[in-house]
């Protein structure tokens, strides 16, 4: 029986709504950003919901203050705004202050990558992985479907410290039909391959799985890994998995070569002494204003399935030489 796909935010918000009935410590803050499920939280828990208005700096500060008073805070806004509009507030009153004082603030950023397809670069988000992973004490979580997104709830409540949840704005096909991946591991192996492994995060896992299938049909078996915990994955385990590959391909819906998952994997490979060669799939160039479907935009910036398929095929060829 297949699981009906849902929006990541609705599934997590529903878990929060259910928990708020018995957990008086949960507080929800929003920067004037909603969802039908959020309406239930607003209606049922008006004392533990606050809309700060279009004011992300204050969203972070108020959330920090609530956390200092012992609340488990979920702060909710559009991804580029909840990360970049208020970056210094995040740095000072979440990353830095949590070094000294225990606090639990979970930033839910909706609109990873191109998921606000026709809204243009202000509402799209290609820099957040780089920025948020630069902050000590922060956990950066980038799920690929609603099952894994919803499963983050328990971890958000039980683990102190600031976290950034990078959510897609669209309803994505379900990947984890059989159940959520292991959060302690932080990554999930979807396919094992021979010489090349695709390491993808968020939406790009869907692209990676599609490409892997097509390559398999053409006789190339490539591995696919969902790296959903970008800051806290089980490093030894990942090393073990990757050590059998001659080539690693990173796939992210963010700028290529600007400190995202690609840089993280370069560091990982170098530090762990792996000899695999790398191919990085990420958004090429700068900000773009073309309109089109997400697939069309992805092809234009070098992260679409056709481009990835040919790039990986060439990469496999180059490794064979």
């Amino acid at each position: 029986m297949s699981v009906k796909p849902l929006a990541m935010r609705d599934v997590l918000l529903d878990r929060i709504w259910q928990a708020m009935a018995h957990d008086q410590k949960i507080f929800f803050t929003s920067a004037d950003f909603g969802s039908p499920v959020l309406d239930k939280i607003r209606a049922d828990f008006p004392n533990r919901f606050v809309n700060v208005g279009i004011a992300e700096q204050n969203l972070i500060n108020v959330s920090a203050g609530l956390a200092l008073e012992g609340y488990t805070v979920f702060a909710y806004a559009i991804a580029p705004f909840i990360t970049m509009r208020c970056y210094e507030q995040i740095r000072v009153s979440l990353a830095l202050l949590s070094e000294v004082r225990p606090m639990n603030v979970n930033l839910i950023g909706v609109g990873a990558g191109y998921s606000y397809v026709v809204s243009g670069p202000t509402h799209q988000c290609y820099e957040d992985i780089t920025l948020m992973r630069a902050l000590p004490n922060f956990r950066v979580l980038s799920p690929a479907d609603h099952v894994s997104a919803g499963s983050l709830f328990d971890r958000c409540v039980s683990t102190k410290g600031p976290k950034y949840l990078r959510f897609d704005a669209q309803v994505l096909p379900v990947i984890y039909e059989a159940g959520a991946p292991d959060l302690d591991v932080g990554f999930h192996v979807h396919r094992r391959g021979e010489r090349v492994c695709l390491v993808a995060t968020g939406y790009m896992l869907h692209t990676a799985l599609k490409v892997a299938e097509e390559l398999a049909a053409a006789g190339h078996s490539v591995g696919v890994i969902d790296l959903f915990d970008i800051s806290n994955f089980a490093a030894d385990q990942l090393q073990t998995v990757l050590s059998s590959y001659a080539g690693i391909v990173t796939l992210e819906e963010g700028f290529r070569g600007r400190g995202g998952v690609d840089a993280m994997m370069f560091e990982f490979i170098a530090r762990r002494g792996l000899t695999a060669r790398m191919l990085n799939i990420g958004v090429e160039g700068g900000y773009r204003f073309e309109l089109g479907s997400r697939a069309e935009l992805h092809e234009q910036v070098g992260i679409g399935p056709q481009f990835v398929l040919s790039s990986v095929a060439n990469f496999i060829q180059s490794l064979a030489i």
Binding site: G53, A55, N58, V62, A64, G65, G70, E88, Q89, V92
Partner: protein
Amino acid sequence: MNLSPIELREKSHWVWRETLAVHRRAPETRVASSLSSIEIFVALYYGGVLRFYPAQPLAEHRDRCIISKGHGSICMYPILADLGYFPMDELQRVCQTGGFLGGIPDPVIPGYETVNGSLGHGLGVATGMALGLKRKGSDRSVFVVSGDGELHEGANWEAIMFASQHKLDNLHLIVDNNGISMLDYTDDIISHGGLTERMTAFGWDCFEVDGHDVGAVQAALKKMKTSGEGKPKALIARTLKGHGVPGLENAPLSHIINPKPELIDSLLQQKA
């Protein structure tokens, strides 16, 4: 602790001397803005305003004091030591290896609640604390001490609007209105002229006071704490940057001027 105005004046003078002495030993500290806020902090901590517990700095039943103007609170070092938050000896190793009292205070210092070195953050975090206390059903209060210069940071005004919208009458902002930021008089940068009227228009209950009359500051703070049902409260304290130090007092560049060691020595002798 609830000292009389006369005792508060004596304490303020002691803090003034100790602050200069700290600066004499650690010239990296910002002394001018730490001299404008002395009576504010003395009234808060010795004037029967704040409930605090030096042996348990983060006791749930404390009033929260957020020191937003981090640099300009070096005068809190002698106060916190005097109150028993940490040993007096620490005043001898400000800005030194192994010490924890830095050029800009950090929340590793017992008695400091939040990160303050970067300006314009204290009030927003304090509003979150004030909201949290209300929602927990706590009767504890939140006090924030900020400079006037840092009110140029827009995030403050997000918090100012939020606090009145949510009727945070447990929130008290004290503006050390010394009229000078780093490079100039605030009136010549972006003026806060009519700050009381501005804050009132934003829905706050506002009080004004001579920020160097410690008895008046004490009285204003006590009045504030028990008044203003349904409104956040602000005390605009008229102060002088570099208070009491010739050449420094009210000088537009006082933030970055260090008084000469000989001047500090002679002041400490004269005013002993």
